[in-house]
Symmetry: C2
Subunit: 334 residues, 2 copies
């Protein structure tokens, strides 16, 4: 392996100054046609590639964008990550992935480390980060999936409205007692989904606060919560579960109690991850445009970084009902 050549090597070979080479490289300033050719030839001959680190040092920007997610092993996040990676790479950025475990200390440590590396911006899915901390680091950021503060750009979905639709759907197919397995209280979208459930449920004469049981945003928590719910209240025949992963737990819970889904219990959830298509029964769910929101967040961030636009953008996408097999069909008798 030969040593890496530098811009000075190119300059020497082409018999011009480094400034001229730099101009050719970046396509700015004046360079005569003839000189440009000479430089191009030298670059080719040496197989020269500019050193991005040197570039970053001068510019103070590194062409890197980071994504913070609680845990890439949660099946909601890979699609988001893929979207962000596609978009960032396409625009010439390098993609850094950080698993935060929803732990503020980890988030802060990542921010610190990334700032030292002159990272251009971050896309962050977080329930613990605050606007004050973010401001301290002064890195362009876009919140994704969960809102951090009104002064930080965000891309989310209409969680409350989607939850309303989900709950209403259960009513429409004939469910008489509809319960909710909610997500963790400290996560904004979980609160919104709970509100959406309440918007519909509270208007019903059968409503009872005991119909709400908190699971975490995971399989086990939801399974337990569902077991409690169904044991205490065998009259429940409809369940709105805060996300798909939890719904899988809910199905297992129903199974363990000998209840058949969807015959005795209809389950609808939220997110629309691939996993929901492969379970038995396949999940009826309010699907988010996961890839799109990830891609859009990346797009927003890149614009913010490149155009130095400071304005805060807030975008909300719509979720869409996907009817599969975890809910009774409308009109079927029970």
């Amino acid at each position: 392996m030969t040593e890496m050549s530098t811009i000075r090597d190119v300059a020497k070979l082409a018999q011009v100054s480094v400034a001229t080479v730099s101009r050719v490289l970046n396509g700015n300033g004046y360079v005569s046609h003839n000189t440009r050719e000479k430089v191009a030839a030298a670059i080719k001959q040496l197989n020269y590639r500019p050193n991005d680190v040197a570039r970053s040092l001068f510019k103070g920007r590194s062409k890197m964008i980071a994504l913070f997610v609680p845990d890439i092993m949660n099946p909601f996040f890979p699609e988001l990550a893929r979207a962000v990676e596609d978009m960032t790479t396409q625009q010439g950025f390098t993609f850094v992935l950080c698993n935060t475990d929803d732990n503020l200390n980890k988030e802060m440590a990542y921010l610190e480390a990334l700032k030292q590396k002159s990272v251009d911006g971050i896309i962050i899915v977080s329930s613990t980060m605050t606007a004050e901390y973010m401001e301290n680091f002064d890195i362009p950021a876009v919140a994704l999936d969960r809102i951090i503060h009104t002064n930080i750009s965000s891309v989310t979905v209409n969680n409350r409205e989607g939850a309303k639709e989900a709950t209403q759907y259960l009513k429409d197919i004939g469910c008489r007692r509809i319960a909710h397995v909610s997500g963790p209280e400290h996560v904004s979208n979980a609160r919104q989904r709970l509100k959406g459930y309440l918007d519909i449920a509270q208007k019903s004469e059968w409503f009872n606060y005991e119909y709400i049981e908190q699971g975490e945003y995971n399989f086990e928590g939801a399974k337990k919560a569902t077991q409690i719910l169904l044991t205490k209240h065998p009259e429940i025949d409809g369940l709105f579960v805060a996300n798909d992963l939890m719904a899988v737990g809910a199905i297992k819970a129903a199974e363990s109690l000998g209840l058949s889904v969807p015959d005795q219990l209809s389950i609808i959830s939220f997110d629309g991850i691939k996993l929901g298509e492969t379970t038995s029964p396949a999940l009826t769910t309010m699907a988010q445009p996961i890839y799109q929101i990830g891609a859009r967040a990346a797009e927003m961030l890149i614009k913010q970084v490149e155009q130095n636009e400071a304005q805060t953008l807030v975008e909300e996408f719509s979720v869409k009902l996907i009817e599969r097999d975890s809910t009774r069909k409308k009109g079927e008798n029970q």
Copy 2:
């Protein structure tokens, strides 16, 4: 937001030279106790953090490690990614994720880009990369899950042996005709799994090359392959599927043909991803220590990078049978 302070600011405030500050920062060279305190105070007062880009420029290394995976949306990879991220972050590296789609051009483009950023090393899951190309880039690398070449360090599992065990297991529980839905031929571990199947199957009087059908490493391909297999050969009562994701497709295929799993058809697969626990029936599978191999690959790479060890290490982990509900229980009559 105040301007970032530099080492020269610290030096001025502490009334010492930049060299001394650097020595304090890195804990090398001689610094008197008194001076060390003064510098520490100045650093604290200015909230100074060294600029990693400048450091990288001088050192020619960036404290970044990249992971190449075909597609993070394939549920096998998030756990691997998590393991690598945990290990790299713990050692002070920044983690870069690259989705290659098993496309050599993309891999080359990433290598090029990462080299320009002085990435310290890469961990690569690839079926298309070759040793020659890797050598051209001269970046320390560890192959993961799939072997690239004997002169590149690798961490894999004993695919062939595991496949043998899986096939033997189907025999042991009483399957009379065992077929294999194989992975793509260009992937080394898929070839190994096929060989393992053949090791057992070819010794059986019923063996027939038509009992092998190639699916891709995905849901749809496996579903189709299984449908073909079961339609042509209704006598099949055991299926070794090349991975868990494919097994989900195989179950769906069996379902679509009115076959009950495991009563009429036992299915065993490979990988041991979380998804396999949540499907109905839950998958019997040869589980890889996914997190461990990811973590080990990262560990090996970091050692290689930090100690500048050039030796090639080849490690193979063992897979472990996990009996769940997609296979008949031993001794049960059919």
